[in-house]
Amino acid sequence: MSDYGQPNQQVFSDSLLELAKHNRDILIVTSDSRGSGKLVAFGEELPDQTIEVGIAEQNLIGISAGLAAAGKKVFAVSPACFVTIRSLEQIKNDIAYSDRPVRVVGISAGVSYGMLGATHHSLHDYAALRCINNIDIIAPADNFETREALKAVIDHPRPVYLRFGKKAMRNLHDPDTTHFEIGKAITIREGSDVTFISIGEPTSRALEAAERLEKEGVSCRVVSMHTLRPFDTEALLDAAHNTRAIITVEEHSVHGGLGECCAGILMQRGINIPLKIVGIPDEYIINGEQSDIFDYYGISGEGLAASAREMLKVSV
């Protein structure tokens, strides 16, 4: 297993093209987003399975719902920042409420677009979609999770949101020994002091923090919570019962995402464990590339390690 793979959205588009060559019902629906979505090759090789609707995200989702109603396996691909808000009512009514199993794919998600600024960041999508019934939410952390998630959603009976970023991802799993299942977290490494529960691209940084802390004698569990809904409550409770503190990590606002999901479950069960939610705080975001933004807000190996030390009152 090499250290670094490709951008998740590249893996998604390459894998989808291979699947679609053997299944004419697989369609991509795009909103002038084939370039960002790495889907130019798909469009060229399978033009009859490519529906372009122009820069019109409401239209993108409505048309996708209609195609799904006719039995098509639809991937509606558009930047996460636009497709999850501009067309939120279409996602709510035409897909989720109408129960049309469209696969909404948010590309260049989180702060992938970096210096393009806040209009292009999606730090709201988990929160927005968690409030809408009947749409699953998956954010793969590496190329393996991306490939497996794609395979899993081809015949998924419910609407689903997939979230991918632009940067090449560190490989986190051994494909030969790791099992991926929607709604089942993957424990990347075991540990007894603190658990990092992470979703999506920052998961490699949680692993980096665990590696740093190991050298200091702090034992960290790292859990890739690739699916936000259905949520793996069991994995969270196991971390709460068998480690001393939990740090959640997400490329999202600290409001309404993974962290608050975990907090809600723990509090309602009366489980009192130190918990820190690491994400983007409720403020005007700094300008920078994804890595700059991660570093600034403590979503880095050192930043997350510092959070762990503080929670465990460990001095270096």
């Binding site: 122009g54 019109a56 409401q58 048309i63 719902a65 209609g66 799904a68 109603a69 039995g71 009514n93």
Partner: protein, 278 residues
């Protein structure tokens, strides 16, 4: 179904619409009365949709974008045999599926609507799928005129023309009223015919409360090969009940006992007159 039967159906439907809204204590009265002749002609004369073939993809499809006129659709679907007529009594009863906008939990409902500006894009997707698969089904969608202020309807119109969807038939219930008042005073829509033409539709205008004219026109879809068809159905909100016609307050006003009685009496009179002509 011949013209005489279609006309009698429309009267019967109007009576049922008023009765269920009166019993249910809520509903979109005038809009249901304006569009019920369109639904009558679609389900009894034009479309190939039955309870028996509803589970199949390869039959005609109908998306009611103006979901608030659901009482007209419930009435027609019951008459088509999608569910027992007695189920209409469940309108607005808690814990039933007969809510104030369409849901797929009701047999015969194709899509959940209610938020405006959604139906045309979904219908467009269904029509594209037919083209991709070489299927012969057609997709019909009914839009309110007020909802044309939603930009999403125009987004979908561009795509329908781009993909040359001559299997798509868009019908606009042009009753000229919305909840606040005249469409032209709220946010002017005209010139609608020219706008739709410019967006790539083959446009026809018709008296949308005249079942014969509707049937004749819709027999001719697509109006032009390679273009989506658009019917500007000029209707009267509250059609069929004199004191409701073209009066904005009846948008979602519920008739009192006396008003229901007067409305039914007027419709019964029309029915008697029509029957005497047979």
């Amino acid at each position: 179904m011949n013209s005489h039967h279609l006309q009698l159906k429309s009267i019967a439907y109007r009576k049922t619409i008023l009765e269920i809204i009166h019993r249910g204590g809520a509903g979109h009265t005038a809009g249901s009365l304006s569009c019920v002749d369109v639904l009558n002609v679609l389900y009894n004369h034009v479309m190939n949709i039955t309870p028996e073939n509803f589970h199949e993809v390869d039959r005609d499809h109908y998306i009611q974008s103006k979901g608030h006129s659901v009482e007209a659709l419930y009435t027609v679907l019951a008459d088509q045999g999608f569910f027992p007529q007695a189920d209409l009594e469940q309108l607005n009863r808690p814990l039933t599926n007969f809510v104030g906008h369409p849901t797929r939990k009701i047999p015969g409902m194709e899509h959940n609507t209610g938020a405006l500006g959604h139906g045309l894009a979904v219908a467009t997707g269904l029509a594209i799928a037919a083209k991709l698969d070489g299927r012969s089904y057609r997709v019909f969608t009914l839009l309110g005129d007020g909802e044309l202020a939603e930009g999403s309807s125009w987004e979908a119109s561009m795509t329908a023309a781009h993909y040359k969807l001559d299997n798509l038939v868009v019908i606009v219930d042009r009753n000229t009223l919305q909840i606040t008042g005249r469409t032209e005073e709220v946010n002017a829509l005209e010139p609608l015919h020219a706008k739709f033409t410019a967006f790539g539709y083959a446009v026809r205008e018709v008296d949308g409360n005249d079942v014969d004219a509707l049937a004749n026109l819709l027999d001719g879809v697509p109006f032009e090969a390679g273009k989506p068809s658009l019917v500007l159905a000029n209707t009267i909100k509250g059609k069929g009940v004199s004191f409701m016609e073209d009066v904005k307050v009846w948008h979602h006003k519920v008739p009192t006992d006396e008003q229901l009685s007067a409305a039914l009496s007027e419709l019964n009179q029309a029915q008697t007159t029509l029957e005497s002509l047979s």
